[in-house]
Symmetry: C2
Subunit: 219 residues, 2 copies
DNA sequence: GCTATTTGACGACGCTCGCCATCAGATTGT
DNA sequence: ACAATCTGATGGCGAGCGTCGTCAAATAGC
């Protein structure tokens, strides 16, 4: 009975921070370190020691927050994709539903703008691939989530668009792939192509698939 | 002057094989072993020891043929992609240029049929990504090569298709991405979707981008 | 038949990795 | 002031890696 209560919010304040605050701060430091290292030297070339040096912490606090580097990658991937997705949805909400072309353009522009952070782009489009079954599942799930978003959006924006369900599902995946590959190519060629060109080309693919006349596409 | 001539085709015959034949056979054995292991357990989980056991050879002959596992992956990737590309081109040549829709369908069917080899598909679409700058460059170069093929094909098959060059380049990349992502999704969902559905959806994307009326698309 | 080469089996090296233990100094609650 | 806790630094442990060397058995040229 000498232990007061240690299990729930165990730990005292230190350096003006509660135990939970310290944990959260350490977690953020490792997230930032992972974003930097995974996004530059790459995931497989990054070690726990490097992450600790980058974060300015020691490995004990790494293992307090993550089981291994894979868990850190997973967390960074989810956070980054959540952020990108939020930006796209925000852009969608700000556009007028009366003009589908403008809506698509706004969403695509927000998307490619988010990708101009090369670390995020590299992690979410290159580094996560082929790491492990767990990460693959996270990636695959995210693709399908995005595809579902595109699918319902297309069905509501273009009710006259009629294709069988199984084919529509593949089409949504294909659209994701088209935009993804453009983004990847953009990243691998050091953002040489101006962003509006990317947006216009992606909009054309989208319009072509949903059967919109080319004139309805922006520009 | 005691050495006869040893540098060019040095080595004698052994087991009924010349030195060059042995080297080629060993190389093939390692290529097959790599195809099997990279395509099942994955590239990063594969070690030189595993490759040797799978090939039924010892490491000395591995290093005679490849500098490291990365070089083996590179060779396998190039060979596999060459094979896929050859199948697609063969299908294109066998189809009638008078019916662009049928040509596209034949090419896509050959492509997805080749991808039914899951080891090849996994290596070329998952394992090669994010390995190293060298492999990334090989991947990127192959994508651009394929995009160039699509671009010239589109320009010749549909001369009335008019888009600016910079946008057309992105569109070709996007088309590759659309098909790639469909293929990847197919692989990751254990080939659940029937192949014709994949072909039809991909054809629709292609037709949509080059401005073909939906009726001209197959089916 | 004798010598040189090739082959497979096996072990050892140097290195780096993830992970864990220790220990002195800093900070906190009483 | 003092005991308890937290922190950073350091080093070690076992495992896995690529790579190299050794050695007996198999094969080929003379």
């Amino acid at each position: 009975m000498t232990t007061r209560r240690r299990d729930d919010d165990s730990g005292r304040t230190y350096g003006g921070e509660s135990a939970a605050e310290r944990l959260a701060r350490q977690r953020r430091q490792f997230m930032d370190a992972g974003l930097e290292l995974f996004g530059t030297v790459g995931y497989r070339a990054t070690t726990v020691r490097m992450l600790c040096k980058q974060a300015g912490l020691i490995d004990r606090y790494f293992y307090k927050n993550f089981t291994d580097t894979e868990a850190l990658l997973d967390a960074i991937y989810r956070e980054s994709m959540d952020d990108i997705q939020a930006r796209v949805i925000r852009a969608l909400g700000a556009a007028s539903p009366a003009e589908p072309g403008a809506m698509i353009e706004a969403a695509l522009d927000a998307f490619f703008q988010a990708l101009e952070n090369s670390r995020v782009a590299r992690i979410c489009w290159l580094e996560v691939l082929g790491v492990s079954p767990r990460i693959d599942a996270a990636y695959h799930g995210r693709i399908q989530q995005f595809a579902g978003l595109i699918l319902t959006l297309s069905r509501t924006l273009f009710p006259r668009w009629q294709v069988p369900d199984d084919e529509a599902e593949v089409l949504a995946i294909a659209l994701i792939g088209a935009i993804s590959q453009s983004a990847m190519h953009w990243l691998l060629t050091d953002y040489r192509t101006p962003r509006p060109v990317l947006v216009r080309a992606s909009a054309r693919v989208l319009a072509g698939v949903v059967g919109l006349p080319p004139d309805a596409a922006p520009r």
